[in-house]
Symmetry: C2
DNA sequence: ATTACTAGGAATCGAGTAG
DNA sequence: TCTACTCGATTCCTAGTAA
């Protein structure tokens, strides 16, 4: 694989590489014998084509070889071009009507919080009213992979799905921003949950400005394997 | 290296991978022992960071690791996104004043043609006047790597540098398109040379339309190593 | 000069297993 | 369970060299 990549490097300019096994070996950082073996193996796999030339050899990468490289390229792109910058939201703390506590205490939500966020939320949400800049930035949340909390019904009524984004409150406490798919608040409000009571832990009062950092990778700390 | 790529795959979605060495091993197609060794080695190289978690382990790719991957990504891009399509130019044959023959017969040019194009040009150029579509396409020549023929002086006068592009004339004869950096012709004319006389070989007469294919890779068949 | 074979040493892998 | 060690098996690399 890496040998194929090195050859692709040498083919990048013209579509084919020219040279002796010794020269290629030097460029690839291996011995002449190894370069020769690489060429034999890659040709056997149908990933490159070779044609003898008096001055050395012409090596081209076949369609199949390009496919191999393209697959590698694609997987690197997925990693490298994923959103990188974290999102910082600032808003003023205000007291709601306590519906937040009602909702997140529902077993159907709570079980999913524990499973997908990794913590059992303190029974209450912190409501923040975003300033103008914050409202603009909130749009950027869409570019981050949400942790989905599914809707459910408890028999008497239904509860809608909720998107969560891992968040760090005031640089100290790890929690999550909730975005209800059909919120009772407007676009200028975000709700934040955490394993502990944020107001008490941080000594916050209504009207204070609170800073939330949403890292670009917001998925849960559980095994992907 | 490939181990780092595999890990990057697993980190693509969230920025970090979670799991046990056994699980990671399975995803990477190696044994648990090898996965463990990979992690130790990559961490030693500073390419990844690890943090133990009760459910397994959290693995992130460091800035330095990302740089490694970005370098690999860039070299793949150079190969995969190099221009692929060939350029087809069509124009009507006309007879010039014979200056073409004078220029390419100069030893200073001729030696370079032999060395860089791999043939000794027939002493004469074929002049083609491009149609409207051809003029538009000619611009695309700039996207192809030229074979540079350097300017020189023979004592009495100077000769400017010339760009060459390998070309196939009427699908039959391999030659080259010349683009003089300071041409005596306008932008609607191209000059073509080949090892043999094109008019005679192809039975062409003034006014006929001639088709030239310029492949995307136009460098010479000599050792790059 | 090449390319590529052989042979032996070096690096790598994974089964077993300790902590 | 987990991670990571030892160690024999295997793979891989290169020096020497044939063609």
């Amino acid at each position: 694989m890496m040998a194929l990549v090195k050859l692709a490097d040498l083919c990048a300019k013209t579509g084919e590489a020219h040279g002796t096994t010794r020269g290629l070996a030097k460029l690839m950082g291996v011995s002449q014998q190894t370069a020769s073996r690489y060429l034999i193996e890659l040709e056997g796999l149908g990933l490159i084509s070779r044609s003898r030339a008096p001055e050395g050899e012409r090596i081209g990468i076949t369609e199949e070889g390009s496919k191999e490289l393209a697959a590698l390229y694609a997987s690197l792109r997925d990693f490298l071009e994923r959103p990188k910058a974290e999102l910082v939201l600032e808003g003023r703390l205000f007291t709601g009507l306590g519906e937040g506590a009602y909702y997140i205490s529902q077993g159907g939500y709570r079980r999913q919080f524990v499973e997908r966020l990794g913590f059992d939320p303190y029974p209450g949400t912190m409501n923040l009213r975003l300033d103008g800049r914050g409202r603009a930035r909130r749009m950027l949340l869409d570019r981050i992979d949400p942790i989905m909390i599914e809707g459910f019904s408890d028999g008497s009524r239904g509860f809608g799905p909720v998107k969560c984004y891992r968040a760090i409150v005031e640089d100290r406490i790890e929690g999550a921003v909730l975005v209800a798919m059909r919120s009772h608040y407007g676009d200028d409000v975000i709700e934040v949950i955490a394993p502990i009571g944020l107001r008490e832990a941080l000594g916050l009062r209504d009207g204070q400005t609170v800073r939330i950092r949403v890292p670009p990778a917001s998925n849960p700390p559980r095994p992907s394997a």
